[in-house]
């Protein structure tokens, strides 16, 4: 067994109910390391036909850990859910079900537990005839009948699983949104942590799989344990001396609510503005005073960026929600023009409870409000709901309709891109997505770097990938080894690179480390290219290049169309890709040991 790896991947076919293990392919692991990297390669090897319906039983739902997952370092708490995305689509393609790769990271405790159970990953294929859930207790793995869990919200599912299995099991599950195949459904753990993006909960729902519970008793093998103990101390100390340490601990990402608003980068009014003039109401200091009850950490993390908040008075009394943190506070707050902060908490709670990707569902709500405001849709189109800006009751009602696909909910469950096509008229101008995935809480016009972040992300609009190729390489490695990006903000990648070598016994230098990232990115890119994604799919929504901000410190901010072209040209050149098509060049693929992809790309030119 190679150090850092458990050496086995659990493979479960829900159609035949066959459960088995395969050896972790170390040839792949040496080239793609873990997490998102293993996901990219295994997806390529398992999805041979382009245009595979992501909701078909053949689409593998894969959960990967990394070599650092479950070690004693700070931040190795995460797993990555990899599959073919349910919620993305290209501008045009010969395949009606074309979509991108999906990778969606999740923190908490379940990532390490999968390794403790003895697996580097879990690959789930097929479709259960009846609702099912999987219980993994070391090598004892069972598929159980989920009749009593099906239909339950995520908090109820969490409770029922804990009551049945006890708190030693760590669980992940979908809510009604996933069950009803809402395209942007997420997978939830610990009531409010999520592998939210990319519609991974929709893929899980398509397999009739409600939940996965894991418990393990194994130890992650480490090449140099003494070195790792020393490195653990060094990393904790490095974090403590980071000048953002206290702020992260105290406020988490909510600290950015006000800062981003001032910088004109906060998604506001369905991305029409970058500054929320009501913003002071949704900042961290007020949230701390009014709502926050406790901090929560992932495995081994001293940053405890998660804040659990409770509403203690008013009509939403009793609401218990994570945050607000930056994403939820912005998407359910300023982007929907909500000023009732307690109501915003209710909307956040409901999004997790119904099992949505909180970012996407709130983007959908803002999209509807924008359409309503401009008269493109009326309450008659919305089953009588008056979706005025800031109407929290409307947001709640609509979320429920979407989760159960009732009335207009069935249209909105497909995401803003498909819903806009259905609504017709000018609705597509209001749909803030890239490649079909809804844009997150950082706005683009006042910070053009985000046009690269969202535009070039291989899973559709994603705020996390980085604005330059170098930054993208670093963050790709975070998703690969697998550690949390927030620790990386504090102490960079150098110590994690050292950690990878200490754990695995490898001797990767800087160049080799980042070549892994480049390889992963190109592997994902080729998968997407085969589906039909090209340069045209990397553009920000047109409105951001035509309508400037009308208020706030960044009034007038816009992404000029020629700037959009220019930054894409620069980016592709830097990547070693053809600027016209965005396809990787043959030389680039060979340089990255991806020669086997060259003929595929050749066929696409």
């Amino acid at each position: 067994m190679a150090n850092g790896y458990m050496g086995k991947i659990l493979e479960i076919d829900l159609t035949s109910k066959k459960i088995g293990t395969i050896d972790t392919d170390m040839k792949i692991a040496e080239k793609f390391v873990g997490g998102r990297g293993l996901g990219a390669r295994y997806l390529w090897e398992r999805v041979k036909t382009p245009g595979l319906d992501p909701l078909s039983p053949q689409n593998p739902l894969m959960i990967f850990t990394g070599p650092l997952t479950g070690t004693i370092l700070p931040g190795p708490s995460r797993l990555v859910v990899c599959t073919k995305a349910a919620n993305t689509s290209p501008a045009s393609s010969s395949y009606p079900k074309a979509s991108t790769v999906a990778y969606s990271c999740m923190g908490g405790q379940i990532g390490p537990e999968i390794k403790f159970a003895g697996y580097d990953g879990v690959i789930i294929t097929g479709k259960s005839e009846k609702p099912a859930y999987i219980v993994i207790d070391d090598s004892k793995v069972e598929i159980r009948d989920a009749a009593k869990l099906w239909g339950k919200n995520t908090n109820q599912t969490d409770l029922l699983l804990s009551q049945e299995l006890g708190p030693t099991f760590r669980t992940m599950y979908i809510g009604p949104a996933g069950e009803n195949l809402v395209k942007y459904a997420g997978i939830i753990t610990e009531s409010s942590r999520a592998a939210g993006r990319s519609g991974v909960g929709c893929v899980m729902g398509s397999k009739n799989l409600k939940a996965i519970a894991v418990r393990g008793t194994n130890i992650v093998p480490v090449a140099d344990m003494e070195g790792l103990v020393a490195l653990r101390k060094e990393m904790f100390n490095a974090l403590k001396t980071w000048n953002g340490y206290d702020q992260w601990r105290r406020w988490g990402t909510a600290a950015m609510l006000l800062a981003s608003s001032q910088a004109g980068t906060q998604a506001t009014k369905n991305f029409r503005e970058g500054t929320d003039l009501q913003g002071a109401k949704i900042g961290a200091p007020i949230s701390e005073k009014e709502f926050w009850v406790k901090h929560r950490s992932c495995f081994q993390c001293p940053l405890h960026c998660m804040k659990i908040g409770q509403v203690t008075s008013g009509p939403y009394k009793g609401t218990i929600a994570e945050g607000p943190e930056y994403e939820t506070g912005t998407m359910h707050g300023s982007n929907c023009q909500v000023t009732d902060v307690a109501g915003m908490m209710k909307s956040i709670e409901l999004a997790d409870d119904l099992g949505f990707d909180s970012i996407s569902v709130a983007n959908v709500l803002a999209f509807v409000m924008d359409l309503y405001d401009k008269g493109v849709v009326t309450s008659a189109d919305l089953d009588g709901i008056e979706m005025k800006w800031g109407n929290v009751e409307g947001m709640i009602a609509l979320q429920k309709k979407i989760a159960y696909r009732e009335g207009v909910g069935a249209i909105l469950a497909e995401g803003v891109k498909a819903a806009a096509a259905k609504f017709g008229k000018d609705a597509d101008k209001f749909a803030m997505h890239i490649k079909g995935q809804e844009i997150a809480a950082w706005n683009i016009p006042a910070n053009h770097g985000f046009a690269i972040v969202y535009g070039t992300s291989n899973r559709g609009a994603c705020h996390q990938v980085g604005p330059t190729v170098e930054e993208q390489q670093r963050r790709t490695m975070c998703d690969t080894v697998v550690i949390c990006r927030f620790l990386y903000y504090g102490i960079g990648t150098a110590l994690f690179q050292k950690a990878l070598n200490t754990v695995t016994g490898w001797k990767l230098d800087d160049a080799a480390f980042f070549r892994v990232a480049d390889r992963i990115w190109n592997q994902e890119k080729v998968f997407n290219a085969r589906e039909g994604f090209r340069r045209v799919d990397d553009y920000v929504p047109k409105r951001m290049t035509t309508d400037a901000f009308t208020a706030g410190p960044k009034k007038g901010a816009i992404l000029p169309p020629d700037k959009q072209e220019q930054i894409l040209d620069e980016y592709y050149t830097k990547r070693g890709w053809d600027t016209k098509t965005s396809l990787p060049t043959e030389a680039k693929l060979k340089e990255l040991d991806l020669g086997d992809l060259a003929p595929v790309v050749q066929g696409l030119r």
């Binding site: 004693i72 480490v222 081994q300």
Partner: protein
């Protein structure tokens, strides 16, 4: 301090001898009825986020000189499980969390509960250990229950009384050769207390004439949730 033979039932916190604990804001104490085994656990006042972040590593534990246990401030615990790793590293030099003597569980609504031996004064585990085996004893200075793994015959007699109405921390080792889970207070300088980044763990003297602080994680979680989420 010698082991006290007295076992007062339902010892109230109004008793002067127990004022020491009630003055500490984080633990009222637990009073258990023998039949039900239901423990009412007092928890800290709400205070996590509003307090200044603890400086990890700043706590330098004084060596324990009187029988003590480790009290948890549940409002401060974030569920990071650093305590488990520190425990495993101290005792086994590797990350075998199955042998950690402190384990942290998550409950819904979000509550994190570190669970460890309560250093019950009457130590029913020791009493359950067959006399001729004698694998368990009480450290005369720290009050911790010490397990001689060489003597343990894996009869599991100690597991039941702990599971019945105490903390339920004693369990079989993975190879089922010995019991694990009992906190030995690291010989007097607990590594979990030193390693907690939140300052959620404190060393508190414990009287030897009752099972005052023993409660199971799920019961603790219920009490903590009621306290934290008041609305």
């Amino acid at each position: 301090m010698s082991e006290n033979e007295k076992k007062p039932e339902g010892q109230g916190e109004q008793d002067n001898r127990y004022m020491f604990f009630t003055r500490r804001e984080f633990v009222i104490g637990a009073v258990a009825g023998a039949a039900v085994g239901a423990a009412v656990t007092g928890v800290s006042m709400k205070g996590g986020p509003a307090t200044a972040p603890a400086k990890p590593g700043a706590a330098s534990a004084k060596p324990i000189k009187v029988p003590s246990y480790i009290a948890v401030d549940y409002a401060k615990c974030t569920g990071c499980r650093n305590c488990e790793v520190e425990c495993a590293l101290f005792h086994d030099k590797k990350l075998d969390l199955t042998r950690a003597r402190i384990r942290t569980y998550y409950f819904n609504p979000p509550v994190d509960v570190p669970s460890l031996c309560a250093k019950c004064g009457d130590a029913p585990c020791i009493k359950a250990c067959p006399e001729k085996v004698g694998a368990m004893s009480k450290d005369k200075t720290t009050g911790a229950v010490l397990v001689d793994e060489k003597k343990c015959i894996a009869c599991w007699a100690c597991i039941e009384p702990c599971a019945k109405d105490r903390t339920d921390v004693i369990r079989k080792s993975k190879d089922e050769k010995v019991i694990v889970g009992i906190c030995d207070l690291c010989g007097g300088d607990p590594s979990c207390v030193k390693g907690c980044p939140e300052g959620a763990l404190s060393i508190v003297p414990v009287y030897q004439d009752g099972k005052y602080f023993a409660a199971k994680p799920a019961d603790i979680a219920r009490a903590v949730a009621k306290n934290l989420y008041k609305a």
